[in-house]
């Protein structure tokens, strides 16, 4: 998507300007720019936890890939002829351009036993096809041009993982990206998505907080994410990205504001049940 900053829209003279959460980022062309449904092929599946699986999908050649934080809408047919659709954030860093195939994305899906989408997505195998469209989202995304503090609860780590992975990859290039920190809050060690990758982090950017049961030897006892944990992780000028359940998002975003982070620098995404 084109996201070039545009000047603020004109309002009316002699009136205070309308409030804003930031500059207008996009003027929609009158003709629209519809994202069409596409068919993607599953090229890999793996378990993240007992309840979560990651599905790696190959999109058709020439497809647009995502900016870290963006999501895709997946649909499946219902018995009554209608479609059920849900949004899933990409967990992977944006794929590079390939001459011979379309870009690949990874979606991590939490299983909801009586859900409409997730049991279907959990039953996919390599070679299965998926109908989806995207990428969507023009707010909860990180382009790598500001420091970033990422705070995720449970499955809320998914879009933050795309940001973290993108940052890791950029670190290996010259110049390097602005600083980034990732805080993940989980109930127990078994609930941590991307466990091996996060525990192998050697950049010092990753903090895992356990709310119910901490692993043996963890200097931090199990407990809710708190100001004492977040305070030393604040980054001057950072955009903060908070993602998780409504309860977690309310709690974490309030902690940040109470620690002095301007509310305008906190972007929130709430994950279901929705």
């Amino acid at each position: 998507m084109t996201d070039d900053d545009l000047p603020p829209l004109p309002s009316l003279p002699d009136l205070p300007p309308l409030p804003s959460l930031g500059p207008v980022v996009r003027r929609v062309p009158p003709t629209g720019a519809r994202r069409v449904w596409q068919t993607a092929v599953v090229v890999d599946v793996r378990s993240e936890t007992a309840q979560a699986r990651t599905v790696r999908l190959r999109l058709p050649p020439g497809s647009e890939t995502h900016v870290p934080g963006q999501h895709w809408v997946v649909r499946v047919p219902r018995d009554d002829g209608s479609w059920a659709q849900r949004s899933y954030s990409a967990a992977s860093a944006p794929d590079r351009q390939h001459a011979t195939r379309g870009p690949e994305i990874e979606l991590t899906v939490e299983l909801i036993e009586d859900g409409e989408l997730s049991p279907v997505l959990h039953a996919l195998d390599v070679g299965s096809t998926v109908t989806l469209r995207g990428p969507f989202g023009g707010w909860f995304l990180w382009r790598g041009d500001t420091p970033a503090l990422l705070v995720g609860g449970g499955s809320g780590v998914v879009p933050l993982m795309a940001m973290y992975r993108s940052w890791r990859r950029a670190r290996s290039s010259s110049g390097g990206p602005p600083p980034l920190r990732l805080v993940v809050s989980v109930r127990t060690p078994a609930d941590l998505y991307y466990r091996d990758e996060l525990l192998a982090d050697d950049t010092g950017a990753v903090t895992v907080v356990h709310t119910r049961a901490a692993p043996e030897g963890d200097p931090r006892p199990a407990g809710r994410l708190d100001a004492a944990t977040l305070r030393p992780l604040l980054l001057p000028g950072a955009t903060c990205y908070v993602c998780g359940s409504t309860g977690f998002a309310e709690h974490a975003s309030r902690l940040l504001v109470d620690l002095g982070v301007p509310a305008a620098d906190v972007r929130v995404e709430r994950f279901g049940p929705s």
């Binding site: 829209l9 929609v28 519809r34 899933y88 707010w139 709430r270 279901g272």
Partner: protein
């Protein structure tokens, strides 16, 4: 506004459900992009200005003294949940506009929140008994996470148009796309024709 999955299997479709939606039942999911503000009704006010004969500001007490109006029906979120047969109480936007007097050039409204969130609406979508400013849900005060103390209610459009934590309405002679409308979502958002994203 991504969301994970949820219960929603149905054998036959409720005719009140627009295409692509499911019935969330007793739930009422919360979806917002920004930090929930703390609003004190002692200092909060609602302002209606722009292309009106006389701009006005109502305090919490003054707003609640206006003739009451109630909506009972369905609401539809672009993230695909719908909540059927739910009730909100407040005042109709028609009543507020009657108090300020519409100028003939007014064609659009921008609703704005104290957080800085904005959303745009053609005037005909907030008049004629189609929109409310509400502070009650199911007979109880509207909770902060659902936009309390006061939110806009435009139930025939996707719910991002029903701005939470409402601070005011501004009447304009042109369209000014709001927060989501400049970030990939549809300009109008009619759930019956699935106007979810740009170009839908």
């Amino acid at each position: 506004m991504p969301v994970f999955d949820h219960v929603g299997r149905r054998r036959s479709r409720d005719p009140r459900l627009p295409p692509g939606q499911y019935d969330v039942g007793g739930g009422f999911p919360v979806l917002t992009a920004e930090v929930s503000p703390r609003i004190d009704t002692a200092t909060w006010s609602l302002r209606v200005d722009g292309l009106v004969d006389g701009a006005r500001t109502w305090t919490w007490e003054q707003l609640r003294a206006l003739p009451r109006s109630r909506y009972e029906g369905d609401i539809h979120c672009v993230t695909t949940w719908s909540k059927l047969g739910t009730a909100f109480g407040g005042v109709s936007v028609d009543a507020l506009l009657a108090e300020v007097g519409l100028q003939a050039e007014a064609t659009h409204v921008v609703a704005w929140s104290v957080t800085g969130y904005t959303t745009n609406l053609p005037l005909e979508h907030v008049t004629g008994g189609r929109a409310w400013v509400v502070w009650e849900h199911e007979g109880k005060p509207l909770p902060p996470e659902h936009g309390g103390p006061v939110r806009l209610l435009v139930p025939h459009l996707y719910f991002w148009k029903s701005a939470k934590w409402l601070g005011g309405l501004r009447l304009l002679d042109h369209d000014e796309p709001g927060f989501w409308e400049t970030r990939g979502y549809h300009a109008l958002g009619d759930p019956w024709t699935e106007q979810r994203y740009d170009g839908d």
